[in-house]
Symmetry: C2
Subunit: 288 residues, 2 copies
């Protein structure tokens, strides 16, 4: 199948790589040239100068870029993909973005005889590298069923969550849950340290029961050690929580703890920790 | 071995039952007589009229009662166990109580030539019934190693966490973590419902990744259904969070989200939900 991939960052790079390795004809585009050259040095594929040029011949165009404005730029921008795409081709956006931009671009795609799927992922950089991401998709069933087998090249689980925007909304639920888990864990472990407990032994003992979580099992001990270099950064988490809080204004949901935790992440940022991973919330609760 | 068990509630009743079934000579006491009679009808054991009478001949005395004052009453109260216990006997308290009362009673026990272990449990009523509790112990190593094999009759994991009070402090960490997890899950699932998502499908999808938790896997779908009859009650959670917040005043730890969530639990109580389970936090975030 002829594919295009726009955005070769820490997520998009390995994802495009899996498509190339699976034998698809892949044309890639990235805003900064160095990432394109690094990718092309390791993979079989064609390099394009604009999103439009990358997308022109493709059956499916993928993107994984930074935020709402970036997604707009690579789709409906001056050199965006939509103007060049073949009729009935599919645009799959893996960016974690707003449901609003997903619905907007779904409308624009439909008007042009194209399809748009919002398809944010979870699983992080290592999930992308190992090809075991979880993909949460919003959009129509027909283009979904055409795209699904291709998505499986880098995903362990691909699920159609509902109409346009439902993928993004599901990712928001994920991030809201993560925020609560991490803050609870940070308060618990900081309490353990203040109480003079062996905090790693505490993690061993309580991770057997009702308090346990992926975060406790995978980040509990590194939080005790003050190590915060495990991927998903505070800067990105704040973007995701902002998107969720804006969506909550639209749908009427309340996010009292999430809003508070977002403010704690703002403190981590202000103290220079924007690139630390999300478990760095504990830094605000222990002696520096 | 000669054992005594004080407090035959939903936890203590099955725990004492496991000891009797294991062939120990068990003498039981409970404040209200009906629970003693129900227990004695199903198990082999002796019934005593006071904690002191139950404890007189025992090598190890266990208790599982309500709160700090109840623990004081059954140990150093008028008919308490301490006055009657044999020299070098051990008192193991399974109540979730303050570290302060544990340290106070540890001092009193030592003055009388006795041993005191604070040993709160996790695993709930079903864990007690199945004999698979987690026991977090604070106290001295010598009495701990004598008590440990007996505790294994109803526990899957028994761990000495540190000196007197360390068991209670570990349980506090557990409850702090649970509070954060449950509130995050409640906000996430309420958001999913407001967003028009299939919230149970969302649970299926995101419970594969970094947002997952015991609470999500075991309570996520029942929360969506508005079912809150799965054991550990809001009233008890508020007691445990109060103990944790008081201990944090002593050790200097901050619990900003836990304190907020405690207030949400207070709202659930005020609305008549004190006996609902802890996942009922979602009630505050969805339409009634």
């Amino acid at each position: 199948m002829k594919l295009a991939f726009i955005g070769l960052g820490v997520m998009g790079g390995p994802m495009a790589g899996h498509l190339a390795k699976a034998g698809h004809s892949v044309t890639v585009y990235n805003r900064s040239r160095d990432k394109v050259q690094a990718w092309a040095a390791q993979h079989t594929g064609t390099v394009a100068d604009t999103p439009a040029a990358a997308a022109a011949a493709a059956d499916i165009v993928f993107s994984c870029v930074g935020n709402d404005d970036d997604v707009r730029e690579v789709t409906i921008g001056k050199h965006g993909a939509f103007q060049a795409m073949k009729r009935d081709a599919i645009f799959v956006d893996h960016t974690t973005a707003s449901a609003t931009v997903a619905q907007e671009l779904n409308g624009a795609a439909r008007a042009l005889g194209l399809h748009f799927l919002d398809a944010p992922v979870s699983g992080g950089q290592s999930g992308a590298e190992q090809g075991i991401l979880t993909v949460m998709v919003g959009g129509d069933e027909k283009p979904y069923s055409r795209a699904e087998p291709v998505l499986k090249q880098y995903a362990r689980a691909v699920t159609l969550m509902g109409p346009s925007g439902a993928g993004q909304k599901t990712k928001m639920v994920n991030q809201i849950c993560v925020a609560g888990v991490v803050q609870g864990l940070a308060e618990g472990l900081a309490f353990a340290l203040h109480a003079g407990l062996d905090a790693k032994l505490v993690v061993d003992v309580i991770s057997k029961g009702a308090a346990t979580s992926w975060q406790m099992e995978n980040r509990g001990k590194t939080m005790v050690d003050g190590k915060f270099d495990f991927g998903f950064a505070v800067n990105l988490m704040r973007k995701d929580l902002r998107i969720a809080m804006e969506e909550a204004r639209i749908n009427g949901a309340q996010l009292p703890a999430s809003a508070l935790i977002d403010q704690f992440y703002a403190t981590v940022q202000r103290q220079g920790g924007g690139k630390l991973d999300t478990s760095s919330l504990i830094k605000l609760l222990v002696k520096p």
